[in-house]
């Protein structure tokens, strides 16, 4: 596929940085975003504006008033509507060049098995470990890179999982009994981490720069610190289970 004149103009400032060939790589890429909350709103917005060719979005929830403080895809007009459907409408207006496929349903093993194989990169924008670990399993089964982020309060972390190169999420975070609880978060935290997730996706697809493979970025909004810590490569037995 080639870039149209409209696309060349639209991405002008970015092509100036990454070049035409890399912009075309973005257009020819497919990305799966699981979760359309704080992280997913921001991640999908920037994936679409940056010119990813095909985006698959999964989220089962409806827009609630308490979402609007951080989930920037939605407005008061969308209250009660399925997030995935609103996202498709809004994102299509932002960039009609992007093919947007939405699944307003729960992310299950069955659905995931069908979707993961169709994409180049997976973005974890989930709010719980249970589904994250399911996504992690699928990423390893289909050997797809997975960009992980998690947020709470003024804090968050980010890492890029590459099957064959890094340990899996389950090995790194070994959260044994994931508990679901209400998570409080400041408006800007998922914004910061969601944007960084997309930066990882752009680097994964174009091969420019360095991704956070075997590294975790730990963000602290209270002190403006971005610490990067290394992960020792482990001989994980569960990664490919």
């Amino acid at each position: 596929m080639k870039l149209s004149n409209e696309e060349i103009e639209r991405y002008d400032r970015q092509i100036g940085v990454i070049g035409l060939e890399n912009q075309l790589k973005l257009k020819n890429a497919s990305v799966l975003v699981v979760g359309l909350g704080g992280l997913g709103s921001v991640a999908s917005y920037y994936l679409v504006s940056a010119g990813i060719g095909r985006l698959i979005l999964v989220d089962n929830e409806v827009v609630e008033l308490s979402n609007l403080q951080r989930q920037i895809l939605y407005t008061v007009d969308d209250l009660g509507r399925k997030k995935a459907l609103v996202a498709k409408e809004r994102l299509s207006k932002l960039n009609p060049n992007v093919e947007i496929i939405v699944y307003p349903e729960k992310f299950t093993l069955e659905l995931g098995s069908r979707l993961v194989d169709q994409v180049d990169v997976i973005v974890d924008a989930l709010d719980n470990w249970e589904t994250r670990f399911l996504l992690d399993k699928l990423a390893f089964k289909h050997k797809k890179p997975l960009v992980h982020a998690g947020v709470e309060g003024f804090h968050g972390q980010l890492t890029t999982i590459i099957p064959g190169k890094t340990p899996c999420l389950r090995c790194i975070f070994h959260v044994e009994k994931p508990v679901r609880r209400k998570i409080n978060v400041v408006a800007t935290t998922p914004g910061v981490l969601g944007v960084l997730e997309v930066c990882e996706v752009i680097k994964l697809i174009t091969g420019i720069g360095e991704v956070l493979a075997n590294k975790i970025l730990v963000y602290n909004g209270l002190t403006n610190s971005f610490d990067i810590v290394e992960i020792k490569s482990s001989d994980c037995k569960i990664c490919y289970e």
Binding site: G35, G37, G38, L39, G40, A125, L126, D127, N128, W129, R132, A149, G150, V151, E152, G153, F154, H155, G156, Q157, I172, F173, H174, V175, E176, K177, P178, I183, V185, P190, I216, V218, N220, L222, T223, D227, V229, E230, I231, K232, S234
Partner: protein, 70 residues
């Protein structure tokens, strides 16, 4: 022998604690600090260490919270 480790806990209330322990694992240290091992990663020399790894006298440990929200 008593092991003294400096533990810096990153979080809403950032704090440095000195812990007197008798040769402990990462998991035991977290328990001693009253932290759930599922909610923190433990770093020594800028490297994530696993739960059964031993912590030695004079080690400087940083404990980072792991966040699960989206």
């Amino acid at each position: 022998m008593v092991v003294v480790v400096k533990v810096k806990i990153i979080g809403p209330r950032e704090e440095v604690k000195e812990v007197d322990v008798d040769k402990v694992t990462v998991g035991e240290l977290l328990r001693k600090l009253g932290l759930l091992s599922s909610e923190y990663i433990v770093i020594k020399n800028n490297i994530v260490i696993v739960e059964d790894e031993l912590i030695r006298d004079g080690d400087e440990i940083i404990v980072y919270p792991v966040k699960s929200g989206g």
